[in-house]
């Protein structure tokens, strides 16, 4: 017990307290810091420069969390219903693949796909939509959804496989009963599947929500927060402020805000989906 607690305390809890401590100072990381009380927090919640990243992370939540989970439910139920064959397991494996490669690699790969001469534009041109082709990650309007797209690609497999295991545990008799009543795919999904995988949906939402709010790797390599500040998320902003601008106090305040934000999003999800578990 003790060694685990020591490592955890030393390299996780202690830094966390230090982050909180730093957040009350104005410090450049070198000289002595100056106590500024809550000033840094006031800036985090009033300065659009710092609020922007927080809003962006909520927009990412749609792409990293809502879409992969929804699409995951559909995919998993399809595999469960029609493809318990070889094809189904091959599909599962393939869709899962992006989950094991570094996020940095996903960022680089998609950086190229979404570039002006990349595949995405090639496909659009091939189907006669060449007019909307553009450098997706370099356009103010599309950069954030384009980053979100990368998130979908990475997280869909994880959600699908996890939800599938949830479905495998549902009593087959329930499905038989539903079929006897003539339920189609949609009716079956609503009446049998969704209630049965409530817990797994909760886990998916939790994991993906953390991935969205704390996103760093993908954004760092694909856009670096740009163009302008259109894809700046808290992780990136913290990195810039702390290690490039040397405004350690401000960066720390944003980091604390991020920690609280993650908890604020996750706790209700956990509450809703696990209440009857404990």
């Amino acid at each position: 017990m003790v060694p685990a607690l020591v490592m955890y305390g030393l390299f996780v809890l202690q830094p966390l307290f230090l982050t909180i401590q730093y957040s009350f100072y104005d410090w450049d990381g070198v000289g002595p810091g100056e106590w500024v009380g809550l000033d840094n927090y006031v800036r985090v919640f009033t300065d659009s420069d710092l609020l922007g990243p927080i809003f962006n992370s909520f927009r990412l939540l749609i792409f990293f969390s809502v879409i992969p989970v929804t699409l995951g439910v559909v995919t998993a139920s399809l595999i469960h219903r029609i493809a318990s064959t070889r094809f189904g397991s091959v599909a599962t494996t393939v869709i899962f693949l992006p989950q094991v490669i570094p996020l940095v690699a996903s960022g680089i790969i998609w950086g190229w796909l979404l570039a002006r001469p990349g595949v995405v534009n090639q496909i659009l041109e091939a189907i006669g939509l060449g007019g909307i082709a553009r450098a997706w990650l370099g356009d103010f309007g599309t950069a954030l959804p384009a980053v979100g797209m990368i998130g979908i690609w990475v997280l869909l497999g994880f959600c699908t496989v996890l939800l599938q295991t949830g479905m495998a545990k549902i009593n087959p008799e329930l499905y038989e009963a539903a079929r006897l009543d003539g339920a189609g795919w949609w009716a079956e999904l609503r009446a049998v599947t969704l209630p049965g995988i409530k817990y797994e949906i909760g886990v998916c939402l939790t994991v993906t929500a953390i991935a969205a709010l704390a996103a760093f790797d993908i954004v760092y390599v694909s856009t670096g927060g740009g163009p302008g500040r259109s894809t700046q998320v808290p992780g990136i902003k913290i990195y810039i402020e702390a290690f490039l601008q040397r405004r350690v106090g401000l960066a720390s305040a944003l980091a604390v805000a991020l920690v609280v934000l993650v908890l604020a999003v996750i706790l209700p999800v956990q509450r809703l989906t696990r209440e009857d578990q404990t």
């Binding site: 955890y8 830094p15 982050t19 318990s84 494996t93 190229w112 534009n121 920690v259």
Partner: protein, 274 residues
């Protein structure tokens, strides 16, 4: 299971489309990697003369040999220690139910939600203070700490589900707590420990933020950290960048193909347990 024909048809089509969506990016960078270095091909285009030499070139400029050694060293530094510590702690919380176990568990679970960004700033200054900044140790030590919540959570779930009779009968035979751990429960926990080892290795290998912040020299970083630096250098040479990405991904891919089944189950159990 019975399903109508149209349903089957549409369903298969949908799954095939998703698979294409997943695979196409890999195909694209593979094709691109075969174009002459420095040229600007379009996204999906088989080159006139495939430049297989690009992979050799990427292997060289990315200093792949050193990278594999560096990442392996970090994994070796992180994983065995993390496994030992989390197994012991999981045993104490899950099986011995030491006083305060509930609170300790909650403390660790809180750590599961903690974004790395929340602690990376002080980690930088701490590493500087104790003089390990820019060494692999600066990645290894914090990672062990950061893996504790998951590791403990994971091992606790295993130990908490062990039937009590095993422990009781060992106690009756006069086993000390240490014997109980070492001779009875450790061998029984081999499966979950192995899965945990795979997971932690991949997460270490793919760790980016800590490597970026704490270690400047790419050849001392993790694989992902090095890839980030590689991208910084060769962002304009698309074919070489693609070749480099593939070369760096190759080890992970091989492992995935070999350990595919264990890996998927491990990842899943990890999130459902508890």
């Amino acid at each position: 299971m019975i399903a109508t024909r149209t349903e089957k048809y549409i369903g298969h089509l949908f799954l095939a489309a998703l698979m294409l969506f997943t695979v196409l990016p890999f195909v694209s960078i593979f094709f691109t990697a075969l174009h002459p270095s420095g040229s600007l091909p379009s996204g999906l285009e088989w080159p006139d003369e495939p430049q297989w030499g690009n992979f050799v070139e990427a292997f060289r400029v990315a200093e792949m040999g050193e990278l594999v050694v560096s990442s392996s060293l970090i994994v070796i530094g992180v994983v065995p220690v993390s496994l030992a510590f989390s197994t012991m702690a999981g045993f104490a919380i899950g099986l011995l139910r030491i006083p305060g176990a509930r609170w300790l568990l909650l403390l660790f679970i809180f750590g599961l939600t903690l974004p790395f960004e929340g602690i990376v700033i002080p980690l930088y200054y701490l590493a500087r203070e104790i003089g390990i900044l820019n060494t692999r140790l600066a990645i290894v030590l914090p990672l062990i700490g950061l893996f504790m919540p998951f590791g403990v959570f994971w091992m606790r779930a295993h130990f908490a589900n062990m039937p009590n009779e095993i422990t009781e009968s060992a106690r009756v035979d006069g086993a000390s707590t240490w014997d109980l751990f070492r001779r009875i429960h450790l061998p029984l926990a081999r499966g979950p420990i192995a899965s945990l080892a795979i997971l932690l290795s991949i997460w270490t290998w793919n760790q980016f933020l800590l490597a970026l912040v704490l270690v400047e020299d790419p050849t001392q970083r993790t694989m992902a950290g090095a890839l980030g630096a590689f991208q910084g250098h060769y962002a304009t040479d698309i074919p070489l960048l693609c070749a480099g990405t593939i070369v760096i991904l190759l080890p992970t891919f091989v492992i995935f193909v070999v350990l595919q089944r264990q890996l998927v189950t491990a990842l899943l159990q990890g999130s459902v347990k508890g």
